[in-house]
Subunit: 616 residues, 2 copies
């Protein structure tokens, strides 16, 4: 590391650069793997119940009863997804994700649809997880209320920096917040149901179905859509199969079941208790926090839950910070996203993807004022599109491989039927989501996804066109400029100009000095001095009525180009470099202006010829 | 104007570009000249009385009586300044200003002191005038209270745009608001004193001196300092002598007297009425506005005064927008300020000075929350330093010219004595100001002025050093590089690389292609293809463990430089240009990175060799 002297600010922030061969993966056991891949799903407990209740209270307090059947339906869907994703894991042990599955089995359009949906959803996961995490902290410390958005942005910054450092030591870091959150929520549910909760349920006599007054199918479906955000992230394990120690597919499948059981019981338990304690959503106190207050009181366990909620939501955001850059990398490799998403930074992570996601999520948070419930209608629709494409892709793949192997297409019927049913269910959720949440914000996503797909196609087409144009027309292609005309703008005769003219004469026989004149007397003096000093180089004087240097020089270049087609034109700008940065501000920035204007012209090479002066 | 197709946004905003020969001055009669040069001084009536009262009410309500003698003392000082400045006009008919007078008669340090003071004060004039103008509007429409700072910034933006357009049609624009303000204030004073005011004065029995309890000399002097902000701007006429029609000095002297009479009577009258009506400063209602309410009631005259106050304060800010760029230009011409303050923009105004002042004033307003009374302690000290230097300079100049002409140095005694007395008075005000306002904010200015002077000296020294270095060492100086080595970074063999190599071979015999390798197999393949395609150009492969292209190329350049001292090194970066801006983002920005890193190295010329591709 000879060229690296001392540690730059960047190094202190994100750590020493890693060599390419240091890229490796730690292989994990079931629990460690689960602790890395589950936070996205488990953390949904922090807002799932709340989102259902937020819709139902708009009908009536009594209507909150419907949270119970809705939660049950969502848990049923969870069970189906767990079974379906066990099969995805078996068929895709390399951990494909919806984009890869779609690409391999359904074609480009479904793959890009999955890609667009997931990129949008990864970004929303970061935004929603961060705002929900800060909500948990604000519930515990309401005096922080006014700092909501700054705290959100601070959290994103911290998570971005952690990710830019690389999450290689992650399992050790991830384990404890995840375990703590799971244990505390299960403890809350257990204690709550056994002790006070059960009793209160009786007191409210709320097992009975309430009056249906004001209750419409539309509103119930909307509540169901909101609640199904609780299942976002369950696909993470199937994407991360290679993280597990061998036999990794088997371990991943077990992790999937454990995740399903944990998530189901935590979500259902919280919803039951919320109903038992007649909790309704408040601005500065989350439903989970209110339930915890009822069960624990405001004691150490309550605050531990608040912080572990914040922690697991941060981990969920973190998961997404791994997912987005990885997917962007895969799509960039396939030339559907800009190349720069392929570049690994000093710490071997996809720096550009991380920065891009951080900025996009920050913008979302600022635009929506950090309100979780305003972000939720945009969220989850992409995840369910991904669910659907994965499962349809699986069915298509089995059919194809059966046909290729000469087996009956029906040989995999039971499993395929299950996946098809899962796909049907999740696609229905997509439609329900789109319809019931449309006016609340889902329209943004429904416009954004097609736009992104269009963008992917454009990028792909452009890269292919460029690749075509870049190919040598023949193996013996050696283009050479007919002639090289060098133009040097000069203001006066100085050492810097002399230096540039000397260089210009060394690279071409045709050197023209151009002087832009504001004042006849002065330019005549210059012409005389020039004729004495360097009679071999022609000095062209151009009058400028508008005190602009750049415009007349550009016009002169156009003139020379028109007169000498086929010639290469090189513009050399005499420039002196001074010692300190502020001194640079004291001199004319004409070179930069000219360069900025010339940079897009074909056949014009522009360079500043620097001469260092001390300025002291 | 062949090259200008259609009107750009800039043209719509600030108007068509003007030719250099369109620079001329309209010559004005006394009243028109006064209307352009007096708003800065006259508008001080909007806050002068208020600033005195703000200090006095901190003692007691009764102590506000002291506003009367303080105002009288300030008006006396005004009279002395008017007489003194009539002599400045006579001696400096070209309209010098404190910087020019100081430079010509006292030397560099006093001149720079005056320059620094006035630049600071011009900026503060903009800030104070704008906030006070918006205060007048908020007094009339208190519901705008919350928009104070945005309104301030909007006002600065509008005034900046007006100035960027150039204020050539200004007299016509300036006349009416100035006349209206003067007439309304005089009308208010007259009506007030004749009718209710006089009566109330009697009612309050306040002619008697109140108890001196709690009244300290320090506080009275502080009140005096605050009130003397009412005289800021009286020097403007002496700076603008050439604006008047011939005999311009005589006309300017008459204008000076008129200004003194108007300002004195308006300021004294307002202070008397404020006392009569027992007005004290309020947050959302200025003293001037309260007095007007008492005299007029909230009728059309009241609102007319509010708007004309806002208007004349805007004109005051405008005056300062002429003064700052003009002074910056003069100092830049003397090489004490950066060159760019000398550039006239499309509309022949000093664009950079205007923008710089607008940004500085906006920052001040934001930092001080748009509160006029918080800005006032910073204000005026610079103006009084300018007053002092002008008058001392005048005395010194007379002495010198008397000595040069062989006259007795005492020949000008009466006039010189008067100027010396004026200088003594204003220098005492500076000291009183510095002491009594020190902790409230004057310390900022007292630190800033020496720093600025230091900056001016540094700039001057730097420009002189550079000018020295730029001079040709001999009339026959023709430096030529011993050798020109061209380095071309290549990633693969493409049409763009072929184009750049062709160009490189046309400008030098020594062309080296450099490839940064991340992968041995690929770089070996490239080496084989290269040997077949272009055996005449050496390809150097450098391994990069850290996936960086820029670092290894820089190290290679250093190596070549070390091996070939005296050679000129040219780096040519193959680059393709695509049709649309967004397509540019899809390609590696390696060229820009390399250029940014190389730009400060001596003896390295860097250029991108562009080839246009369609990308379609």
């Amino acid at each position: 590391m000879g060229q690296r002297e001392g540690r730059s600010f960047k190094e202190i922030l994100i750590g020493r650069p890693l060599k390419s061969r240091e890229l490796f993966l730690e292989r994990l056991d079931i629990l460690s793997g689960l602790s890395i891949l589950s936070p996205d799903a488990l953390s949904s407990v922090a807002y799932g119940t709340e989102e259902i209740l937020t819709v139902l209270v708009t009908i009536s307090l009594a209507a909150t009863w419907f949270a119970l059947p809705i939660a049950a339906a969502i848990v049923l869907m969870l069970a189906i997804l767990v079974v379906s994703y066990r099969q995805v894991i078996a068929s895709y042990p390399s951990g494909g994700g919806a984009y890869m599955i779609g690409r391999d089995s359904l074609g480009t359009l479904p793959a890009l649809m999955a890609g667009a949906s997931l990129l949008v959803d990864y970004t929303l996961t970061v935004a929603v997880s961060v705002t929900a995490g800060i909500d948990a902290i604000i519930s515990a410390f309401p005096q922080l209320h006014a700092l909501r958005v700054p705290l959100d942005l601070l959290a994103i910054t911290v998570i971005s920096i952690v990710n830019l450092r690389g999450a290689r030591e992650s399992a050790a870091v991830f384990k404890w917040p995840t375990y703590l959150f799971v244990v505390l929520v299960l403890c809350m549910v257990g204690v709550g149901l056994l002790r006070g909760g059960w009793h209160n349920l009786g007191v409210r006599h709320t097992w009975a179905v309430p009056s249906m007054e004001g209750v419409s199918l539309f509103l119930l479906l909307r509540a169901f859509s909101s609640g199904s955000s609780a299942l976002t992230g369950v696909e993470a394990i199937s994407n991360g199969v290679p993280l597990f120690r061998e036999p990794s597919a088997r371990r991943a499948q077990s992790a999937m079941v454990i995740l399903g059981v944990l998530l189901g019981s935590m979500f259902l338990g919280t919803t039951l208790l919320a109903h038992a304690y007649a909790v309704v959503p408040l601005t500065d106190n989350t439903v989970l926090s209110q339930v915890a207050e009822h069960v624990f009181g405001r004691n150490i366990l309550y605050y531990a839950l608040a912080f572990s909620t914040m922690a697991i939501l941060s981990l969920a955001a973190n998961t997404s910070f791994a997912g987005f850059p990885q997917l962007a990398f895969l799509m960039a490799r396939d030339k559907f996203m800009p190349h720069f998403f392929q570049t690994r930074g000093d710490r071997l992570v996809f720096t550009n993807g991380i920065l891009f996601e951080a900025i996009a999520a920050s913008l979302l948070i600022v635009v929506f004022g950090g309100h979780t419930s305003k972000l939720i209608p945009l969220y989850a629709i992409g995840v369910y599109i991904g669910f659907t494409i994965s499962q349809v892709g699986l069915v298509a793949m089995r059919l194809r491989s059966a046909l290729q192997a000469g087996r009956s297409p029906w040989s995999d019927l039971p499993r395929s039927a299950f996946n098809a049913f899962g796909a049907l269910l999740t696609s229905v959720v997509v439609v329900v989501f789109a319809v019931t949440k449309f006016s609340e914000g889902a329209w943004i996503v429904l416009i954004l996804i097609p736009l992104l797909i269009l963008f992917f196609y454009n990028v792909h087409h452009h890269y292919q066109a460029i690749a075509q144009e870049l190919r040598l027309p023949s193996p013996e292609y050696h283009p050479a400029p007919e002639r090289n005309i060098v133009i040097v703008p000069v203001a006066s005769i100085t050492r810097v100009v002399a230096h540039t003219i000397g260089y210009a004469k060394s690279i071409s026989d045709t050197v023209i000095a151009v002087h832009v004149s504001f004042d006849h007397t002065e330019s005549e003096k210059l012409e005389q001095r020039w004729a004495q000093w360097e009679p071999g180089v022609r000095l062209v004087t151009i009058d400028s009525q508008y005190r602009s240097v750049v415009q007349p020089v550009l016009r002169y270049i156009d003139l020379v180009k028109a007169q000498s087609p086929g010639a290469m034109i090189t513009v050399l700008i005499p420039e002196f470099v001074v010692g300190r940065w502020w001194q640079g501000l004291l001199h004319n920035q004409m070179g930069f202006l000219l360069q900025a204007r010339l940079v897009s012209r074909r056949d014009v090479v522009i360079a500043m010829v620097p001469l260092r002066l001390s300025g002291r």
